[in-house]
């Protein structure tokens, strides 16, 4: 391998690394795996449709203030403890179980939780997982829209 080729490979590696960083975690989830808030609301209102298991994978302080009624708190999936909780919660479920993951702690491109959670469920073989696309945060894109909200007492 020539000196130029070696330089090019090193340069390419750095370029790929930078590009990977630019594609922030949640932003790298394929669009086909996302569900919009309005579509989830419609789905929840339609009794004919299968109700998904909804899991909040963010902070408990945020969950306690407001969350989707019926959803479960697991813990931040950006931590190993949160991921472990998630794996335990779903371990006995059929791999076809419809699951919706959501967080809403931060703008989409900065959310540290949904991508690791989605990856963990995929790795376990779940085939019907959607991630709730929250562009700004749960307050702006869910609560302020007037969608159903529950709070911890």
């Amino acid at each position: 391998m020539t000196k130029n080729a070696i330089s090019a490979v090193i340069f390419l590696s750095i370029a790929l690394l930078l590009t990977a960083q630019a594609v922030a975690q949640a932003s790298s989830i394929p669009v086909t795996r996302l569900i919009n808030p309005e579509d989830l609301v419609k789905l929840l209102q339609n009794s004919d449709k299968e109700t998904p298991l909804m899991i909040q994978v963010g902070s408990h302080v945020l969950f306690a203030q407001a969350h989707i009624p019926g959803s479960e708190y697991i813990g931040p999936a950006s931590t190993e403890a949160g991921l472990q909780q998630l794996r335990q919660r779903v371990q006995n479920l059929p791999r076809t179980q419809f699951i919706v993951l959501y967080c809403g702690c931060c703008p989409w491109g900065h959310c540290p939780n949904v991508k690791p959670a989605d990856d963990a469920l995929r790795a376990l073989g779940f085939t019907n997982v959607k991630v709730l696309y929250i562009s700004d945060n749960f307050g702006t894109n869910w609560v302020d829209k007037g969608y159903p909200v529950a709070r911890e007492p």
């Binding site: 130029n4 080729a5 330089s7 090019a8 490979v9 340069f11 390419l12 750095i14 370029a15 790929l16 690394l17 930078l18 590009t19 990977a20 960083q21 630019a22 594609v23 922030a24 932003s27 902070s59 408990h60 302080v61 945020l62 306690a64 203030q65 407001a66 813990g75 931040p76 950006s78 931590t79 809403g104 702690c105 931060c106 703008p107 491109g109 900065h110 540290p112 939780n113 700004d136 945060n137 749960f138 307050g139 702006t140 609560v143 709070r151 911890e152």
Partner: protein
């Protein structure tokens, strides 16, 4: 040579991507000068050393109340700017107070040491968030005037120069 050109293009694309992500986030910020300025809700919360911090005890100072969390990337990016603001304006009456929305204090202790934060951090909770209209996304910062009224609310990462101008106005 072709490899080198391709690598250069990819590098530039990567850097542009990072820049775009950050720009798009910054543009999400919302600055809201309060039309009907309300008194900042008082609270008493534990600091990292266990002692209690009461917001109203800072009446007479300009307070920047920053809701944040260690796992929140934009919050981490803002922190050095806040440290600098505290250093620069503390003698003129600025007090920054961080309200951590982490679920526990352990990562906050580590963060506090790592960044050598020069302002108090308290552990927030859902009730504190609700007092401030719901802290359902981070970061959110409230700028409070010397008389205790909320002067501005910043949602999302905000350039410290924007906050600095407001602080200068309030410190006059």
């Amino acid at each position: 040579m072709k490899w080198l050109i391709a690598a250069t293009v990819l590098t530039l694309a990567g850097l542009f991507g990072i820049h775009s992500v950050r720009r798009s986030y910054s543009s999400n910020r919302l600055t809201q000068p309060m039309q009907e300025q309300r008194l900042a809700p008082d609270f008493a919360l534990p600091q990292l050393d266990g002692s209690e911090l009461r917001l109203s005890s800072y009446r007479g100072k300009v307070v920047l109340l920053d809701f944040w969390a260690t796992w929140c990337a934009p919050c981490r990016e803002e922190t050095p700017g806040f440290i600098e603001l505290q250093r620069k304006y503390s003698s003129r009456g600025l007090q920054i107070i961080g309200v951590s929305m982490d679920d526990g204090p352990e990562p906050v202790h580590v963060f506090y040491q790592e960044f050598q934060i020069n302002y108090p951090i308290v552990m927030g909770n859902a009730k504190t968030g609700e007092l401030y209209g719901g802290v359902l996304g981070l970061p959110i910062a409230f700028l409070i005037a010397r008389d205790g009224h909320i002067y501005a609310k910043h949602m999302g990462a905000t350039n410290s120069s924007v906050i600095e101008k407001e602080i200068q106005t309030l410190l006059q």
